[in-house]
Symmetry: C4
Subunit: 298 residues, 4 copies
């Protein structure tokens, strides 16, 4: 028993950043496994085993599960745009932005690989063995996001900025003690509901990635797994939009929240007052104790 | 650091009403952005990327998100009918009714504009470039509500009165300490569920606006953005119904709640008794302390 | 101000049963308004504004809203089968069973009437003005439940017994302090979820009334509103099944819960022990106080 | 009254394991009754009274209800793969694994029988009286899970391993005090949401049993009820996969959680420190009391 404990203690990763990276890899892995597997299920079953809404819901369950899994370890950003926003807000050290982002991309890449393995037979059956980005039997959209034909690049960019801004604007108050926050232990399902809302309302143009890692990880996987360079070149090099626009949108949404809401909320003085009162009580008790001591020395 | 803090303190809006107006603008903006964007997604994708239910759900997520965002600032009415009801109930000063309502309409107007920008390409493609209120390619219903052909004006009026009465009847108990209320920190998702229920059951006739701002803001936007005066004149000047009927319905629902439920609930005496008991304890402790003092003076 | 308070105090219904009846009427009214209105919306829109699932969901939201509305007043049974079960379990006086049931039926009747008014135009359009129980344009099933053709009377009876037994078996543990209960303030949404589950899995045969009031109230309404005696005579006098079977099922489910689960749970001694300990503390403090008094009298 | 209490006390099952078995039987019964009844409703109504998603949702409600029902009695494993995982983690005695598993299979068998009774008429109508595993009118898939034609045995095995691993990986943090857990009293709906996510994303290949009891119980029932040995021999003896793969997957998922997350979380020292502090307070109080006694003996 104590031997096992010793081994565990030795295995324990002492470096905080290493632990956080591990958490983000696993969390983003869970998020993407739910989401991409649902996309594969709906597409390869030709919507007989789910529909557009169930992909949205699966991504939402993925957000919830991933947050419960790793938020005590790494904060469960699961998204470079969220990490960047927390850097800007001063809640994450800038030095950690790149490791966090790479970890998230890696987790998304690994999950895509596993989804490909699980749905290998179904994808081959559906696509006739031809892995392609275009046409009625395309399967690339199981993994990364792609735009619809009619939408311009400016609109897609704006779409991703707005979607990610909404994400930050709606999740920042959930955990803001100065606002009227959600219960700490129920943040994951509530954040997941916000993500569900965004994917039900802002995914028609280009798939509501609102997360560079959620898009780049799977895109890299499809690039390496047989879909080829088309995943990057298609739709006039669309791939850069879900990389850049969410970073902009996350910061914009955070700033809107801080400037229009947070600045004007009452300062959290209540807490400090509480502490003061408690201090008084303690002092009072100490005084009592002194009296006892005096009396016992009579 | 302290300089930033100073700037923030100077930027802080000290006027309470100004803060509240800002909160209502942003809250209603979020509500409508989710809702109208989902309506645009479902319509322009011809129900391939969502369905009637997903518009209802997106409005519901919008209610939840908007409430978490601004209820600490402005109470998150998001709806002139709710504000009017709170005036009648004595929870909002009558002087604030107009500013609140205008703020809500402005927030709804701004959100409609942003939805139009995001879905500009899709709306143009869907409508063939002709922005109209009628026909199979109409797109006005993405924004404001319109009735179905067969329904009479009286029925639509009743429909909106009943819908908004249900809203107030079902959300007032959620926060009533004398009743068996929901957890304070979970009011937003529960209110959102009530709104979902109303839009699933009372939106067939004329779209379940149950909110003058949710309807007038987007209608004004479509009026200015190219749909023209038809948005007001169509269906025999239908537009006044979602403006007037919800105001009536909100008050009716509130009165039903107060008269049939709240009046008959036990008075919240427990709290005052608790306070009395605490006072006793304090008095008791003071007595003890006096004893100590006496003793120490022996 | 004090005059208003006086009037309110005079209006206050002092008789507990009268208050409870009022609560059950209003609660069942809300439940049925959501549910039947959703059924009307889905049917008259020919499933373009909702689907089978959205009727289930609307009934579920109705359960939640009705429970928050009246559970502090009447316990929010909303269902004679639930009231009977609580009589058997000793949580409701037998004398109250009939008044509760009649109140629930009345609430359901009134809600049906209002749904008829709201959807009058749509029902007339859908049915071509002929209110009937049979055929492709039947509209009776908006209100009461009707069986499918192929199912025998025994199967329907069993179906309703099992459905209502599941209801009681699944909601009794939610509030059982000896078990691992749900949070008191979140009972309404969780009970609503159980009801959603039953209507998604046991409504194919005969509509999952699992509630005599939910069925008889609307059936009586359609009888009086123009559908005629067919609503009672059709399907070989089917109407008695959702009246009798749920009463049997509710009791069966309650007994299964008590016998197989509750009896074997640890006695709630912890609480009494806590009380004992508190008593000790108080006694201890009293002893201390006596000491003080003695000492002060030195 | 006291006589009833005596009888109850005599009826009380004193043996802990017997109680736990009873809990697991009833819990798994409830889980399968919701799930299989929903499958029967959707299939026999030819998707007019529900769809693929509503079967997923009904299983999810079943998980929630079963957990509230029996988790105070037996821990609500409801799944031999979960029980095995808890054995590996040291939270269940190995000796209990077989009784738990048999109880779960029995509960699933009984539920299948009841679903068959309720939907007997509908199944006969749908299948034309021929109970078969293949063809457009097959009804075996109402009960047990079957693979799709195109998927290989290795893929199905991997699918079930991954699905069950995801289950354990996502539910273990929910109750881990060292992590950021969900509220104890809300574990059932959150676990149910995870199960919903898995069945929306990983049920296309072979039905997402992720639970040997959920699959074997109904399969045994169909074997005995008229579908014959084909339920075991079909698809090249597929039946062993949902028996073996989830056991592997549950352990794999648990180990991943422990190794990559739990080991690296801070030790739960806070609690022990709290206890220490409380001890101090008690000691301090004792000291005080000694002083009193001394003083009173003056």
């Amino acid at each position: 028993m104590s031997r096992v404990k010793k081994i565990v203690r030795r295995m324990k990763v002492k470096n905080e950043l290493a632990r956080q990276i591990m958490g983000e890899i696993l969390g983003t892995f869970v998020l993407l496994l739910f989401g991409c597997a649902a996309a594969a299920q709906v597409k390869t079953s030709r919507e007989t085993k789910g529909q557009f809404l169930s992909v949205n819901m699966a991504f939402s369950v993925g957000v919830m599960s991933a947050m419960y899994l790793c938020r005590a370890v790494s904060g469960a950003h699961l998204n470079p745009a969220v990490s960047l926003s927390f850097c800007v807000l001063g809640d994450l050290a800038w030095i950690k932005l790149l490791p966090y982002s790479l970890a998230q991309i890696l987790g998304a890449y690994l999950a895509s690989g596993l989804v490909y393995l699980i749905y290998y037979d179904a994808i081959m059956e559906y696509s006739g063995g031809i892995l392609t980005v275009f046409g009625p039997n395309e399967t690339a959209s199981i993994f990364a996001t792609y735009p619809t034909d009619v939408v311009s690049v400016q609109t897609n960019f704006l779409d991703q900025v707005v979607g990610t801004a909404m994400l930050m604007l709606c999740i920042l108050p959930l955990n803001d003690k100065r606002n009227a926050p959600a219960p700490e232990a129920l943040l994951p399902p509530i954040v997941a509901t916000v993500v569900l809302g965004i994917s039900m309302s802002m995914s028609a143009n280009c798939g509501a990635a609102i997360n560079p890692a959620r898009d780049l990880g799977p895109r890299l996987f499809t690039f390496t797994a047989g879909w080829g360079p088309e995943v990057f070149t298609c739709y006039d090099y669309f791939f850069w939009i879900p990389l850049v626009a969410p970073m902009v949108g996350g910061v914009v949404g955070s700033i809107i929240y801080v400037v229009f809401i947070q600045w004007h909320l009452p300062e959290p003085e209540d807490e400090s007052e509480e502490i003061k009162e408690q201090t008084k009580v303690i002092e009072h008790n100490n005084k009592k104790d002194e009296l006892y001591l005096k009396m016992s020395s009579l």
